[in-house]
Symmetry: C2
Subunit: 304 residues, 2 copies
């Protein structure tokens, strides 16, 4: 689905900038992940389809793979952390995925996934380290460039949430082709700013263990093997936001845009509001990347 | 703002119909009311503008008039019931409106408004009984017809929330011109189904006093003087929904569409879900008319 691009007077005023919002929570399964999953699954051969899919995900990729696999009549096994939001686990099951929970602290999802793939001949569709997944997510950047141009706007910068880096790598690739002057930034939660630090140092950095964040979707330990070289080549930099900054942005989105955004999905707007990038007076593309959040968490974040 | 029109697999499945959603909470000031306010204010003469505007509203018209008046540099006095949601009262003030609260039980807002207009030479812009306000709201129907046609869809029916009836009267006028086969229904809260009963009896009926509803935006006592003759001529009928049906629809919109919808704004979808119209297998336009709701109310409605 081509999501719209729009702006809001109150958001512009709060940011002191022209903010062009791309609401990816309106995408099928409530996040941009449907794009990468659709692209990758569409390219599977008949033989591959018979073996099914195995994927791992904190939630949004799980929902996307479950939905796309069901559309194509393909069996999907999804590895999800045992602390994933209920909305995401139950959603993946409702969409037809077979969910297997793992312990984030003691198990390595890539190993479990590889084992299942070896036993069942399933195709592994990782959440970000896959060229066709990255290309699919990149359509967010392509649409952003096209829709901004259609509005007569010249994007000074674009901000995208970053976990493994697939969204920002794909979007930056498209933006650099269609809107070369646009500076693209990754936004991560504080404590999980591995991409920001890796971009600064020039080599993959790891997050210290034990950090916590509201942004359940953005908790990978280190940048992706495929995504980091792309991001290192194309991004202007990376920034990080605190849980309080995330909550303030979720409340603003609730009050003014009437969109349900999840903590990880609002990080780019949180970064602008908190002055983490120099956006004042500029035209800024902000991707709100998802809206899958448990009602209790959401209510607490918007101050209910 | 031209709001999008889209459908969602999960909503279609829940309704057993093809539901084309028009999300008017994405409109400026969070409801369709911006359309009527913009149209009416744009037609004010320079002399009229100097005298300012007086308007009355349970909330969404207040927000719309406040924002439009501020854009044009016109003073606006808004009469709002003392039990209006805080989000709406504070929002109108933040947008520059001067709010004067009245008691729904003991005061008549039309009288207070007429008195202010007589003293200040302000122009009265009522929430629905005004041809240019109705015409402005009607652009919802015009866009719905155009966007459905662009999707190759033929609308069997369209459902719109109804209070004074301006939205449904305007939208039905446009739909009957552009998509004559579409059956248009008004949707009201139980206890405030004056339009449904008036359509059935052929003459304006009044609601019994003392009813309560979650739908703060849909609490007028009787159909509008201008709107009812239009609705009597054009609508297929009117239906009503309970608070529990409203809450179930709000939760579905939260879970699947990731839109913040207010109780009154979700009534058309609630009517389809509850089987109040025979929508099964049909193509149905559903306008979600607004998203201005206090966080606490919203959290309770989505089951947080």
């Amino acid at each position: 689905m081509r999501t719209p691009l729009f702006e809001n007077t109150a958001v512009n005023a709060a940011c002191g900038a022209r903010i062009l919002i791309k609401p990816e929570m309106l995408q099928h399964t409530g996040s941009f992940k449907f794009r990468g999953a659709s692209n990758r699954v569409a390219l599977m051969s008949t033989t591959e389809r018979a073996g099914g899919i195995v994927a791992w995900s904190s939630g949004n990729h799980a929902l996307a793979i479950s939905a796309v696999a069901a559309r194509h009549g393909i069996k999907a096994t999804i590895l999800m952390p045992s602390d994933a939001p209920r909305a995401k686990v139950e959603g993946a099951e409702r969409l037809g995925g077979t969910v297997r929970l793992y312990d984030r602290a003691t198990e390595v999802r890539e190993e479990i996934g590889a084992d299942i793939a070896a036993r069942t001949r399933a195709v592994i569709i990782p959440p970000y380290d896959d060229p066709q997944v990255i290309a699919g997510q990149g359509t967010v950047g392509l649409e952003l460039a096209e829709q901004a141009a259609a509005l007569g706007a010249s994007l000074d910068m674009a901000l995208l949430a970053c976990s493994g880096g697939g969204l920002v790598a794909g979007a930056a690739t498209a933006l650099k082709a269609r809107s070369p002057a646009t500076q693209v930034y990754s936004v991560e939660p504080a404590g999980f700013d591995d991409t920001a630090r890796s971009l600064a140092s020039g080599r993959p950095e790891r997050n210290a263990p034990g950090a916590a964040t509201l942004c359940d979707a953005l908790m990978v330990p280190t940048p992706g093997l495929l995504t980091f070289p792309i991001n290192r080549a194309l991004l202007a930099g990376g920034v990080a936001v605190s849980d309080d900054e995330v909550k303030a942005a979720m409340r603003l989105v609730y009050d003014t845009l009437k969109l349900v955004v999840e903590p990880g999905g609002v990080t780019p707007l949180a970064a602008v509001l908190a002055g983490k990038v120099d956006a004042r007076g500029k035209t800024v593309g902000v991707v709100l990347s998802g809206g899958n959040v448990d009602p209790g968490t959401y209510a607490a974040c918007i101050g209910a």
